[in-house]
Amino acid sequence: MKNRTLSRKQLAIPYAIFLLLFVVLPLLVVIYYGFTDKAGNVSFDNFINFFKNGKTIGTLVYSLAIALLTTIFSLLLAYPVALIIAKGAYSQKAKILMIFVLPMWINFTLRITALKEILTLIEGNLAHYQFFNTILCMVYDFLPFMIMPIYNSLTKLDNGLIEAASDLGANKFQVFVKVILPLSVPGIVSGVTMVFLPSMTNYVVLDMIYNSTYIMGSLIGSYFSAYDWNNGSVISIILLMIILGITMISNKYTDSEGKTEAVR
């Protein structure tokens, strides 16, 4: 009997080793590089330089602003759509959702190319509305990732609760604010985590629409191409701290299944 259970457990060994070597170890290496200088001595200079330098702080603030606006606009567009598909008058819910998440299957660089062509046609020169274009392209890129989790949490919502609320005298607005919205918070939170961080670091979108490199991810890219592992690691560590913060907040609101559902 003991032998049997042992052999099933052993199946985890290859993946456990893989995780240790290629997921945990790289992060340790990054932390090592972040806290050492070029000669390999322990130092905090990299961090001090990051927070002293106006350009890097500016990039951090700019990326946060882009990520925040992208998340807000995605949410404002995605929520009504998810709500209408999940609870609205349409009968073929699953099929309509499919149509909305189909773009996720197409390479994002190709989709951004498409949008870029259209924007060039409408605006003439993309340089005129850089900030607007950035947000637009980001929202376009990440919208399906916001619709999915919100839709999932809304379909789980028991219709009986909505009916009970209206039977007890709540008007449509009250039903939404007091019942639907609070119960869809897990979906919103997992949608926000799926959009906020990628939009903070996705410098390819900016790069493609107007060759700008003024975002956190591109800082890593520029240090990377300059073989500056130490400063690149500092940016990575700062991003990791932000990720850690977001994960800790979102874990309070979501069940662990949220993330998988969003992917499928």
Binding site: S7, L11, Y15, V24, R111, Y140, F224, T260
Partner: protein, 261 residues
């Protein structure tokens, strides 16, 4: 909300999502080099796409890599999920936590950290493709793991015990009893891995050999250049990928219906 408003809202977002792709698709069948100019019907873009050696090898390379990475991550993720599921709570917790890292981490950081590890620490040359394959596998496997795990939770565990009692070896019981029950999770994990690999830019760009390009890195480089022939051939590529994705989704819908019956 009344129906009229619902329709407007749905259509507005649909048009926002699809208009660029659709317009590009229409223009991929013309000989125009810029959207908005009216030109004649032509299949030249498709001819260019399949006859330019650079483009063909890029497409073949991207899909070969995606399938290879997906197979590797499906193997690792599935065995990992089965193993972790039957492990002690602490082991499973540790694996689950490490598994969560690439899921929540920014792709830039994942790519950068794996690049430093492989190239600076282990001194593996990028030309061997090892950093690229490992990097993408590290990104994809957690998602396979996460899509297999719920199936394991739903599984009937007495069947495995019964198979052993009836004389199956453990590996046979795994293959004949456990795996068939979690196949849907394995397949959806495999497909997720394929999409993630096809869509990945950041890990690829940090770990790929200098002469190798995937669709993502190629397109980004092409937008910097001014070769209109390549640019319009990429419109044709977008069209084909869109059609493939749509066909897959329709087929998936169809099989789901059959299952329900």
């Amino acid at each position: 909300m009344n129906k009229f408003f619902q329709h407007i809202c749905i259509w507005f977002v649909l048009i926002f999502l699809y208009a660029p792709i659709m317009i590009l698709m229409v223009y991929s069948f013309t000989d125009s080099t810029m959207i908005g100019t009216i030109k004649n019907f032509s299949l030249q873009n498709y001819v260019t796409l399949f006859t330019t050696p650079e483009l063909v090898s890029m497409i073949v390379g991207t899909f070969t890599l995606a399938i290879g990475v997906a197979l590797l991550s499906t193997f690792l993720g599935t065995t990992g999920a089965i193993g972790a599921f039957y492990s002690k709570k602490r082991t499973r917790g540790a694996i689950e936590m490490a598994n969560q890292i690439p899921v929540v981490n920014a792709d830039v950081v994942t790519g950068f950290s794996i690049c430093i590890l492989m190239i600076i620490f282990f001194k593996v040359r990028k030309e061997t493709f090892i950093p690229l394959v490992i990097g993408q596998t590290a990104l994809c496997t957690p998602f396979v793991y996460l899509s297999v795990l719920p199936r394991l939770k739903q599984m009937d565990h007495s069947l495995y015990e019964a198979a052993l009692d009836l004389g199956c070896t453990t590996s046979m019981a795994l293959r004949k009893v456990v795996v068939p029950q979690i196949v849907p999770g394995i397949i959806s994990g495999f497909m997720t891995a394929i999409t993630l690999s096809l869509d990945d830019y950041f890990i690829t760009t940090y770990t790929k050999p200098a002469t190798f390009d995937t669709i993502s890195t190629y397109v980004v480089n092409a937008t910097r250049g001014s070769q209109t022939e390549i640019k319009t051939a990429l419109w044709a590529l977008s069209t084909l990928i869109f059609v493939l994705a749509a066909l897959y989704v329709v087929a998936q819908n169809f099989t789901k219906k059959k299952e329900a019956k």
